[in-house]
Amino acid sequence: MRLVWRLLLTLAAGALLTALLVRTAPGYGVHERDLDIRRNGPTRPQLSLPWWYSREFQTPIHQLVAQRAMPTALAVTGGLALAWLISLASALASTRWPSRALLNTAFVGAMLLQCLPAGLVALLLLVFGFRGTPAVALALALALGPRVWQVSRAILARAASSPCLLLARAQGFGPWRLIARRLLPLAAPELRALGAVSVTLAISLAIPLETILDVPGLGQLAWQAALSRDLPLLVQLMTLVTLVVVVAGELARSKSA
């Protein structure tokens, strides 16, 4: 119950802050048609729209979200799945078959990827013919993968050298059984926290990536909402993002989950 209250309070604070940010921003309430030379005199005030209508698109917001949720959902889940699959597999492999040379190569590769700005990665994907949602997913995987790999490797390595694991190994657990029964459960809380962080990062990266790669998803919608000072749309999109971030954070923190 307290959790629900906290969640609601955080969401309300987020919505309020976003609204404040947009309302006080320069250029709030102006429209491009103020420059239209065909118009006489100042623009008449807009027909008042209910709060669940986007000002820029003159459409109910839930409709806009429904239309554009798919590409973003696909790109974010695809990107996260790819990043986690590759990094967890290679992190596990390096605890199973530790090799200094392999580790160093992977480390250098991961570092190089981390040194590339995400925007440039998106641009390079375009050069090599990737388009649309798959390009966003791939860019997300390339941006998140190295970070997830580095941290998850560290977590697993620490867990692998814990006394509990050494004991299990001495008891004669096979390598795969060791990983499944002891290593992963031991590292789970920390991996879960990492998971929450990666979800947050993926969502915040979706805005620039969708904008650069021209994908009609929620990220691009948020960008357009910001450019046109569309207060209801931006507030509701950001409430959605806050919800995902907070829930992911809570799931990571809860010990019983």
């Binding site: 250029g27 709030y28 103020d34 420059l35 030379i37 118009r39 006489n40 100042p42 021209d214």
Partner: protein, 530 residues
């Protein structure tokens, strides 16, 4: 040799191959159309969509710039310009098969003039013609204006005819909307009831459909054009034009100057919250003339636009053949003359710094919209040009809403660099730029009475040309307006961008015009060759 002559004879006299029917024309729009309602269309994609899906009584031929009969087969204006009679084509139908009647015309006119709809073209017509009445008869419509309206039929290029039944998504244009995927694409299919036929009597359009892909990134648009995913690009930027040219082939076409101007202006609004010293400079004609003289327009055209622009002389580009004042010449940069002008006003120039008569160094900032590469580069070049006469220019690119707020509401800026976009060739379409009382009289809008004698003269000339019926009289008045603006430099015109398009070799029947919608203005007659 005789072979060659024979070949030439065949090429010249053989009948042109019959246009191929079918196929989908694909192109990009830079943003999603804001509305499918043709009457409130104000952004370029919406206007394009309206052009493709709706019919009008009269079409301005984008090549000849004369009026072509469209849904109306003929028209006649009264000598006093207070009324016009259109006779409608008897066989024209909407896309649902219903006939286009005079009632539909009157309904559409009343709708677009309804202040609550807030339609830009309606607003503009109301401003010039006052109250408008419409009398429908069978296949004939008489429209009566409160004030005389010169070339009245041209206004009807911007008034789409909608069915009086109020049914949505019905039009009398060559295409109708089939599918609209928000944020992604719009597909159009041919209107089976479209009225126009080609010379052989075959139904138009030749194309089965059009697909408009929402593609914001111009580089991606070019890439997809090169791969054959798009058949045309309507506004090619100079870099892309050069790239296509360098690759060989002749898909990139330059159509000469476009209607659009790039200009800067100083804030002369008395309400501006800027120091009085600055207001003083900006209101001094010689100061504005000196700045204009210091800018190397030919460098802007050559460097920023890679030669695909023309130094500007005045408000009307040579693309507007009927109205341009050809006696105006673009000023050639002359810093010495600029300094001489300033010295005459008491300014001093020493050690590379220009100071006003009170000894204050001349510094000001210029705003423009962020993200426009050409405009940011122009600002950087103007900065260097003005430094040569001792002026320190600061550059502040702003995002568009912030910019609009400053130039239309708070007036908190020194100077602004922006383009002038004209959708109408006729000076009446730009009434709200020149009248000192208008809101888009950018340098000093909403004046109660003209602030300067020359603005008063412009007001008088604009009003007199609007009331005159004789084209020669109107031209003389508007020529004088252009000359005053060029001399007083409230807007410092920099360049006219060239209109450049790219057309796939598969697309035939193309007669591109420098006026919107460039390649697509004769869309019923375009076809794709395999």
């Amino acid at each position: 040799m005789s072979h060659l002559v024979g070949l030439l004879a065949i090429l010249l006299f053989a009948p042109p191959p019959a246009p191929q029917r079918g196929g989908e024309l694909r192109l990009a729009v830079q943003a999603e159309p804001r509305s499918a309602d043709p009457h409130i269309a104000a952004d370029e994609p919406s206007e394009l969509l309206a052009y493709l899906t709706h019919g009008v009584l009269v079409r301005i031929n984008r090549l000849t710039q004369q009026s072509d009969a469209e849904l109306a087969q003929s028209w006649k204006s009264s000598p006093d310009g207070k009324s016009i009679v259109f006779s409608l084509r008897p066989t024209v139908k909407f896309s649902d098969g219903a006939a286009v009647t005079s009632a539909d015309v009157c309904y559409s006119l009343a709708r677009i003039l309804e202040p609550k709809l807030d339609a830009p073209n309606g607003d503009s017509l109301r401003g010039v013609a006052g109250a408008v009445r419409c009398a429908p008869e069978k296949n004939r419509v008489t429209i009566i204006f409160e004030k005389p309206l010169a070339s009245a039929e041209r206004w009807f290029d911007g008034i789409a005819i909608l069915p009086a039944s109020g049914k949505e998504k019905i039009g009398a244009g060559p295409f109708q909307i089939r599918e609209w995927q928000p944020g992604a694409f719009i597909t159009l299919e041919r209107n089976p009831h479209y009225w126009q036929r080609d010379a052989a009597g075959a139904a138009l359009p030749y194309l089965d459909g059009v697909r408009l892909d929402v593609q914001r990134n111009r580089d991606l648009e070019l890439m997809r054009f090169e791969k054959g995913e798009f058949h045309l690009i309507n506004n090619l930027d100079p870099d892309s034009y050069d790239r296509l040219r360098a690759k060989g082939g002749n898909s990139a076409i330059s159509l000469g100057a476009s209607l659009d101007t790039e200009q800067m202006w100083f804030n002369q609004s008395p309400a501006a919250p800027i120091p009085d010293s600055k207001k003083g400079w900006f209101r001094t004609t010689s100061f504005r003339q000196a700045v204009s003289l210091a800018i190397r327009r030919e460098d802007l055209a050559r460097v920023v636009y890679r030669g695909h622009a023309t130094p500007a002389a005045g408000p009307v580009s040579p693309a507007n053949r009927l109205w341009v004042n050809t006696s105006l010449k673009a000023p050639t940069a002359n810093p010495q003359q600029a300094l001489a002008l300033l010295r005459r006003e008491g300014f001093t120039f020493s050690a590379g710094v220009l100071k006003d008569p009170q000894g204050r160094p001349i510094e000001f900032s210029i705003i423009t919209n962020a993200g426009n590469k050409s405009r940011e580069r122009m600002a950087a070049m103007i900065q260097q040009d003005l430094a040569a006469i001792g002026i320190q220019l600061r550059f502040a690119p702003l995002d568009f809403p912030s910019l609009i707020e400053r130039i239309t509401r708070t007036f908190d800026y020194d100077a602004c660099l922006l383009s002038g976009v004209f959708s109408d060739l006729d000076p009446n379409g730009a009434m709200n730029v020149w009248l000192s009382s208008a809101a888009t009289h950018q340098w000093n809008p909403n004046q109660k009475s003209p602030a300067t004698p020359w603005e008063a003269e412009i007001d008088k000339l604009m009003q007199s040309q609007a009331l005159a019926m004789d084209p020669a009289v109107r031209k003389r008045a508007f020529d004088r307006v252009q000359a005053i603006v060029a001399e007083q430099a409230p807007f410092i015109y920099l360049i006219y961008r060239n209109s450049m398009v790219a057309v796939s070799p598969r697309l035939r029947g193309v007669q591109p015009a420098p006026v919107r919608p460039q390649v697509l203005w004769n869309v019923p007659r375009l076809y794709l060759q395999n």
